[in-house]
């Protein structure tokens, strides 16, 4: 579905923000991209929706070479929700924000209405109907930005830091929505610093550092590798910490697993 071959990109000559990236993501995968500030995560995902074109190498999305197509034609297939929602939101009201792309794509009015209403209820924004996006709280703006992209149903969905400003309940809702989209066959990429979100909900993780991919695998395996995490300025998920601290070997990132193994270790202690 998405393939990067030897992708290199520099904003300024001599400094590679992406440095020979090779990465393959299959249709219907749910993948997290993590790494230190400035690692190149945002630069990478901008290549996948065609906003940036590689200086070297090749990006293929849904069978299309990103250099051969326009951003507009990719945009319908690849939805990117920006790190800062204020780069994306511009309409006078929440409803106009949500329907903008749908109108542009020429969808029939009743379909537009159906999708807009779905998004407002799915993201718990109904009490703000008719309001300007700029009069929402930080977390609400973030959800609106996500909703407006989801509305037009892209094949590939990329979320740059979707959990910032979200409380735990919203994170749980977001995770179940991502899983649902995933089951519908959508490919979902999540860029995030939230190690808890990754370890709790996302099966595969790609670790970037200094413009390179330094690890790629199952979250349960990658997120307990201290060397890798340290290189990318990450910290292990809390359950991995708890595993190490309490001597559980191998460490686990699953709550039920950690609790069951500890209960066994302390034997009769649990009344």
């Amino acid at each position: 579905m998405i393939s990067l071959e030897g992708v290199t990109y520099s904003y300024m000559p001599g400094i590679n923000a992406l440095d020979h990236i090779d990465l393959n993501i299959g249709a219907g995968e749910l993948v997290a991209i993590v790494g230190e500030n400035g690692a190149g995560k945002t630069t990478l995902v901008k290549h996948i929706n065609g906003l940036l074109k590689p200086s070297e190498g090749r990006v293929t999305v849904c069978g299309l070479d990103s250099k051969a197509v326009t951003v507009a034609s990719l945009a319908r297939k690849v939805g990117l929700v920006f790190q800062n929602p204020d780069h994306q939101l511009f309409a006078e009201t929440i409803e106009k924000e949500l329907s903008f792309a749908l109108v542009n794509f020429g969808l029939p009015p009743d379909e537009i209405k159906r999708r807009t209403e779905w998004a407002i209820s799915e993201f718990e924004l109904s009490q703000y109907a008719g309001r300007s996006p700029f009069m929402l709280s930080g977390g609400e703006r973030k959800r609106l930005a996500l909703a407006s992209v989801l509305c037009y149903g892209p094949e590939v969905l990329i979320l740059d830091e979707p959990t910032t400003g979200q409380d735990n309940r919203q994170k749980v809702r977001m995770a179940s929505l991502l899983h649902k989209l995933n089951q519908q066959g959508k490919t979902v990429l999540v860029v995030t610093h939230d190690m808890e979100f990754v370890s709790d909900y996302i099966p595969r993780v790609v670790v970037m550092s200094h413009g390179r991919v330094i690890a790629d695998g199952q979250s349960g395996d990658v997120l307990v590798r201290r060397d890798i995490l340290e290189r990318a300025s990450l910290v292990p998920p809390q359950l991995a910490e708890i595993s190490w601290e309490l001597g559980l070997d191998p460490p686990s990132i699953r709550l039920d697993d950690v609790v069951a193994r500890l209960a066994k270790l302390i034997g009769g202690a649990k009344a």
Binding site: Y11, S137, E161, G165, Q170, E196, I242, L246, I266, A269
Partner: protein, 283 residues
């Protein structure tokens, strides 16, 4: 027992935004002693940012709206003072710092505050160097803020605030775009500032990162304060569990392993505390 001076006093504060019909804050009573480290949390849209804006006077001075009650910061009643005067006592880091950055270089951005205070040049240079160093962005000083990554911009905003040396620091999700190590180092900076007497109000959803650093946790819900107390008491409460705020995993593990009477004596917030609790049983 040491009695400390209240540096922030909020009395019967209610507030409704000009464009809104529903109040965003409802009858808030709150006090912070000088030198306290307070973490503020609660569901999205519950009023945390609005509360922060009332502490440095942006509300109601710049926002208008319907304001009742009283906010007193370091002896100044916020409605009676201009925002720039309050800004020297209360520094506010916004949720989306990028929107606040407007200078051509990182250095100018960070120097902007002290330059406006008309401080001597050497003092400005010293503060700027120190602030850039503390947040680890000295190497970015000549870059333009819009050529930085999201996390780098957030660090610039924090550095800019540090140069003002305010008595009270209000930070609205300051680590939201930071990688975990940078987040830790910013939090360490806050702990250090706090240890020399700066009062800290920190809004954060990820309580696992911050609750063990705080003297107090205050939880908002629907515009009201619903919990206010020691982090342990707040995080082990049923109210917190029901609100669905991000309780640390160590709390969840402890709750799964222990019965209530035992928990009341020993409420771990971190993996290390959890080990202490279970050490006897583990060998």
């Amino acid at each position: 027992m040491v009695t400390r001076l209240a540096i922030i006093e909020v009395e019967s504060l209610s507030y409704t935004y000009a464009e809104s019909t529903q109040p965003s804050l409802i009858d808030i009573n709150f006090k912070a002693d000088s030198g306290e480290f307070i973490v503020i949390s609660g569901p999205s849209g519950c009023g945390k940012t609005t509360f922060c804006r009332t502490i440095n006077g942006l509300i109601p001075n710049s926002y208008g709206g319907k304001f009742s009650g009283r906010v007193v910061v370091d002896g100044l009643v916020t409605t009676e003072r201009p925002v720039f005067e309050l800004a020297q006592r209360v520094g506010l880091v916004f949720q989306n710092p990028e929107n606040e950055l407007f200078c051509t270089t990182v250095e100018r951005e960070v120097a902007f505050g002290p330059e406006n205070l008309a401080l001597p040049r050497e003092e400005i240079i010293m503060r700027v160097d120190e602030a850039l160093d503390i947040v680890g962005i000295s190497h970015l000083r000549d870059k333009s803020p819009d050529e930085l990554s999201g996390g780098e911009q957030q660090k610039v905003a924090i550095a800019a605030l540090l140069t003002m040396k305010p008595k009270v620091l209000v930070l609205d999700e300051p680590t939201a775009n930071l990688d975990p190590m940078s987040a830790k180092s910013v939090l360490n900076v806050l702990v250090d500032l706090n240890s020399v007497g700066v009062t800290i109000l920190l809004v954060e959803h990820r309580l696992e990162m911050v609750s063990h650093l705080a003297d107090r946790c205050v939880i908002f819900d629907s515009g009201k304060i619903v919990l206010d107390g020691a982090p342990q008491n707040v995080l082990y409460s049923d109210t917190a569990a029901n609100l669905g705020i991000g309780v640390p995993k160590a709390v969840l593990v402890a709750k799964a392993l222990r019965q209530r009477p035992e928990l009341e004596r020993w409420m771990p917030l971190t993996p290390r505390d959890l080990l202490k609790l279970l050490r006897g049983d583990l060998r």
